[in-house]
C-alpha cells in the first residue's frame, strides 16, 4: 500500500508530501501515546493518531515512520509542517475517527506487525 492509497481509502487530504505519495507503507500503528509508538519498531510504517503536536513529528523522526495520519480532522500547525518537510515525513488528515480509520486500512490489507513482547 502506498501513501496515496492511504489518502484514497481514508478520503484524506495530503497536507505534506505530495512528492512522496508513491512510497510504500508496510505496517501501521494507531495511538495517541507516543511512548506506545516508540515501543514498536518496524520499517516503513504509518502512524495514525489524534494527538497533534510537535512531539508527534519528533517521535516519527526517531522511529523512521514515513507517514502520519491525523484522525478526527486534526490539522498540523506551521512548525509541525516545517519539521515534517525537513524530515521527509508525509502528513495526511482525515475526518474519520481512529477506530474507523484503522479498520478501513486493515480491511485493505495493512497490518500492525507482531505482538508487543
Amino acid at each position: 500500500m502506498t501513501i496515496k492509497d492511504i489518502r484514497d481509502i481514508l478520503m484524506a487530504e495530503l497536507v505534506v508530501g505530495e512528492e512522496w505519495g508513491d512510497r510504500e507503507v508496510h505496517t501501521a500503528c494507531g495511538s495517541d501515546m507516543m511512548s506506545d509508538v516508540l515501543a514498536f519498531m518496524k520499517d516503513q510504517s504509518v502512524l495514525l493518531t489524534g494527538l497533534c503536536n510537535l512531539q508527534v513529528i519528533r517521535t516519527c523522526e526517531m522511529m523512521d515512520i514515513i507517514c502520519i495520519v491525523f484522525v478526527r480532522g486534526k490539522l498540523p500547525d506551521e512548525a509541525m509542517i516545517e519539521m515534517a518537510k525537513e524530515k521527509e515525513i508525509a502528513i495526511l488528515t482525515s475526518g474519520h475517527r481512529m477506530f474507523s480509520a484503522c479498520g478501513m486500512l486493515y480491511e485493505k490489507g495493512l497490518r500492525g506487525g507482531p505482538d508487543y513482547k
Binding site: D32, M34, S35, Q55, E61, M62
Partner: protein
C-alpha cells in the same frame, strides 16, 4: 567510521516541551552521516529521545554526553532533578508519576524507562533523592 572516539555534549533546556528531542534529532543525524548501521542509529535515537523527554518532564533539563567509539555508543544523561524514589517501580511498564498535562501531550504512559532498557544493550540508573539522576546507556556496534 574510523577508529576515533567522538564525544557530543548537549544541554537539555528545562520545561520547554516543544524543544524536547532536539538533542536526539542532532545525534541521529550525525550518526547517520558517520555511516552507523541504521538499526543501531534508531535504537540510540529512541532510547535517547525517551531519556530527553524524561529530563524535561521530571528534572528541569540537564546534560547529555554521547560517546561514539568503534565498539559502542554510550549515552550519559545527567540531571539535577528530584531523583527517583524507587527505581525498580519506575522500571515497571505502565508506572508513571507524570502529571495529567503531560499525558495530554502524548507522554507519561509509564513506557519511557522500559523502552530505554529495551532498545539498549546495557542501562544503569544512579539516583539520589534531592540531588539528581544519571542514566548511562550503551548500544553495541
Amino acid at each position: 567510521m574510523n577508529n576515533d572516539i567522538i564525544v557530543m555534549t548537549y544541554e537539555v533546556p528545562a520545561d520547554d516541551f516543544t524543544r524536547a528531542g532536539e538533542a536526539s534529532s542532532s545525534v541521529k543525524g550525525k550518526l547517520k552521516k558517520m555511516g552507523v548501521n541504521p538499526d543501531i542509529v534508531r535504537k540510540v535515537a529512541i532510547a535517547m529521545y525517551e531519556g530527553e523527554i524524561n529530563m524535561v518532564i521530571h528534572a528541569f533539563g540537564g546534560t547529555i554526553d554521547v560517546i561514539v567509539s568503534p565498539e559502542e555508543i554510550m549515552m550519559i544523561l545527567k540531571d539535577q532533578g528530584p531523583g527517583i524514589e524507587d527505581i525498580e517501580l519506575a522500571m515497571q511498564a505502565g508506572y508513571s508519576t507524570a502529571p495529567d498535562n503531560i499525558r495530554s501531550l502524548g507522554f507519561g504512559a509509564g513506557m519511557g524507562l522500559p523502552n530505554m532498557k529495551r532498545y539498549t544493550d546495557d542501562m544503569k540508573i544512579e539516583s539520589i533523592l534531592g540531588v539528581g539522576t544519571t542514566v548511562t546507556m550503551r548500544v553495541s556496534m
